[in-house]
């Protein structure tokens, strides 16, 4: 046999050997129940902690549970579930993305948001500003974002849930302080004019701002801003709380069509209910999400959340269905803004 063919054969054989080697590692002897939680971008640390607690709680009942996680921009995650990603539960950034799954697949009933307490949001958050230490550009409120020469970092509302909350918070400020819808639209357009890049997800934007040093202010989930201080240095950044922001409600739900097919409904339901338990609520506050039941959390964790005037999507924007249609759908206000800024 020619040497080269021998070499190729050897290469393939050694590759196969390597794979066999990695696969023969210790395997769990107990049969596992496993389910998949498809979540949005900044919840990685939160769900790692919650999953660990859930596994601890269910272990005495003799169950070994393997919770699989998938993270990404909320919109693209919803798209993946629509395209067949086998999620048992979805924990996304906003109701509109779950509505989208319900509408396009029939795997989630349309009244899903009424199935769990607090609009199916076990935790809430809001939108704050992250600026560089010492606030060199003197950014105090939304008005400062439209000043010439200020670079605003936000992800793209088309793909990112956090970005849609950013947009709506700015819009609410525009309506409240500038007099109406038209003024608000012009105001938001000016903010996006100051945005040099639009990442697809919240974490991408945080990295753009914090690691790559681009921009003067990052519009971020409150939890994401706190985490950035923790991970990347409280000596490098500081949080600025605007005068008005939005109550962001990231909801959770079962994907009925998938759990019934796989027979995982009971465990997935228990997992979602666990999110409302005192144990999970304490973990939630610890990871800088605002717990639905602050009493269950450590007081010093709850004390970290600043008081902000928060508008809600239901009262201010008539619910996600309408907000989505009016602002973010193709041909909506956001598209018009991008077009006019071009």
């Amino acid at each position: 046999m020619p040497a080269a063919i021998k070499a190729i054969g050897l290469g393939v054989a050694s590759l196969a050997f390597m794979i066999a080697g990695t696969m023969l590692g210790p395997r769990p002897a107990v049969a596992q129940t496993s389910f998949l939680n498809v979540s949005y971008d900044p919840t990685r640390e939160l769900y790692r902690a919650i999953n660990q607690k859930f596994e601890e709680e269910t272990r005495p009942q003799g169950k070994k549970i393997n919770i699989r996680m998938s993270h990404g921009g909320s919109g693209s995650q919803a798209r993946a579930v629509i395209d067949g990603l086998d999620a048992d539960v979805v924990t996304l950034a906003l109701a509109a993305d779950i509505d989208e799954i319900a509408r396009r697949t029939n795997r989630i009933p349309s009244d899903w948001q009424k199935r769990l307490p607090n609009n199916s949001a076990p935790y809430t958050s809001t939108i704050v500003f992250l600026v560089r230490k010492g606030n060199p550009k003197g950014i105090r409120d939304w008005d400062d974002l439209i000043k010439p020469g200020i670079q605003v970092i936000t992800p793209n509302p088309k793909t990112s849930g956090g970005a849609r909350w950013n947009y709506l918070a700015a819009y609410a400020y525009g309506v409240e302080r500038r007099g109406g819808d038209q003024q608000a639209q012009a105001f938001v357009a000016q903010i996006f004019k100051n945005a040099p890049v639009l990442d697809t997800g919240a974490r991408g934007s945080t990295n753009t701002f914090a690691r790559r040093g681009i921009g003067d202010v990052l519009l971020a989930w409150e939890n994401e801003a706190f985490l950035a201080l923790d991970e990347l240095g409280a000596d490098k950044f500081e949080i600025v709380v605007p005068s008005i922001s939005i109550l962001a409600e990231p909801p959770v739900t079962l994907v009925d069509g998938n759990v019934d097919r796989k027979g995982t409904r009971a465990i997935a339901q228990a997992y979602l209910e666990f999110l409302y338990s005192p144990t999970a609520q304490a973990v939630i506050a610890k990871h800088y999400y605002r717990p639905m039941k602050p009493d269950a959390a450590a007081p010093q964790d709850v004390a970290r959340f600043p008081d902000i005037k928060l508008v809600t999507i239901d009262q201010f924007f008539g619910g996600w269905d309408e907000a989505q249609r009016k602002h973010f759908a193709d041909g909506g206000i956001f598209d018009a803004i991008l077009k006019s800024n071009r």
Partner: protein
């Protein structure tokens, strides 16, 4: 009888032109290739050797390495077989639609990998052409190993064939005809004549194919589903670690990918140095 041509240098440009062009390309290479490569290793070892190797004990990192090796181990042999078959057919036979076939083989080079991934979603996704049937029969393709392999095969499709076709065409069919006239069967002629003739180019193509298969990001990202420890290949895992502020681990896994690339490069240079003549026949591309 004409005079023998005088030996002269192949280029007549002035010395400063040659020096400048060489310098420019060296600086360019250093800036865009060597520097980033060094940066990867510097970042990976930032917290010491211990932290570097600890990164590889994380089960998710191991799962990503395992998945990447598995995908390459399936995709590369598939493209090896396909590449030999296609180039053999194209170089040794005449048939209608030959140029169309060559164009099709080149398609993955010109299609964006993301589009390639989306095509598979359109075909096999739940809303796609075959999605409902697959779901009814409990066959998982997208967001599982088969989808990742498909995307990788698509992207690495041309590497082996592109390497072999020009060489085989150059060699013509004379050797095979001789073998056949001496009574060899078609298969024997292929095995003892055609294949040995192209062996080094073949190995070269396989190396390139393997490097791309392990490093592919775009197409795989679309069909992966990003399930931790399950459908994340090494390049995807690097992105995840980076996004989780786990920079040392991110660059450690990245350095492993870079090492693979360097090994490939070394093997390729060795082949070129040792068997340059055999490979030289391939057309530039």
């Amino acid at each position: 009888m004409s005079e023998a041509p005088k030996p002269h240098r192949p280029t007549t440009e002035a010395r400063w032109v040659r020096v400048t062009t060489t310098l420019v390309s060296l600086v360019f290479l250093g800036l865009f290739l060597v520097l980033p490569l060094i940066a990867v290793f510097v970042e990976a070892f930032r917290s010491g050797v211990g932290a570097y190797f600890a990164s590889f004990q994380d089960p998710d990192a191991l799962a990503a390495i395992r998945l990447t090796l598995m995908v390459a181990a399936i995709a590369v042999p598939l493209n090896l077989v396909f590449g030999i078959a296609a180039s053999w057919a194209i170089a040794k036979f005449h048939f209608k639609g030959k140029s169309l076939l060559i164009t099709l083989i080149d398609l993955p080079f010109s299609v964006s990998p993301v589009v390639a991934g989306l095509v598979f979603i359109l075909l096999f996704g739940a809303q796609g052409l075959l999605g409902p049937w697959l779901r009814a029969h409990d066959v998982e393709i997208i967001f599982a190993l088969p989808g990742i392999v498909l995307a990788t095969v698509f992207v690495t499709f041309p590497f082996v064939a592109r390497e072999l076709i020009p060489l085989m065409q150059d060699q013509g069919t004379a050797d095979e005809e001789a073998a056949l006239s001496l009574g060899a069967s078609g298969f024997k002629a292929f095995w003892t004549v055609t294949l040995p003739n192209v062996r080094w180019a073949l190995l070269y193509g396989v190396l390139l194919c393997n490097a791309r298969a392990m490093g592919e990001f775009g197409a795989v990202a679309v069909v992966s589903g990003h399930i931790r420890g399950e459908t994340n290949t090494m390049p995807l895992h690097v992105e995840i670690l980076y996004n989780e502020y786990n920079f040392v681990a991110a660059f450690a896994v990245a350095s492993l990918l870079a090492l693979l690339a360097l090994l490939t490069l070394a093997a390729k240079s060795f082949l070129e140095w040792r068997y340059g003549d055999a490979i030289a026949a391939r057309a530039a591309h």
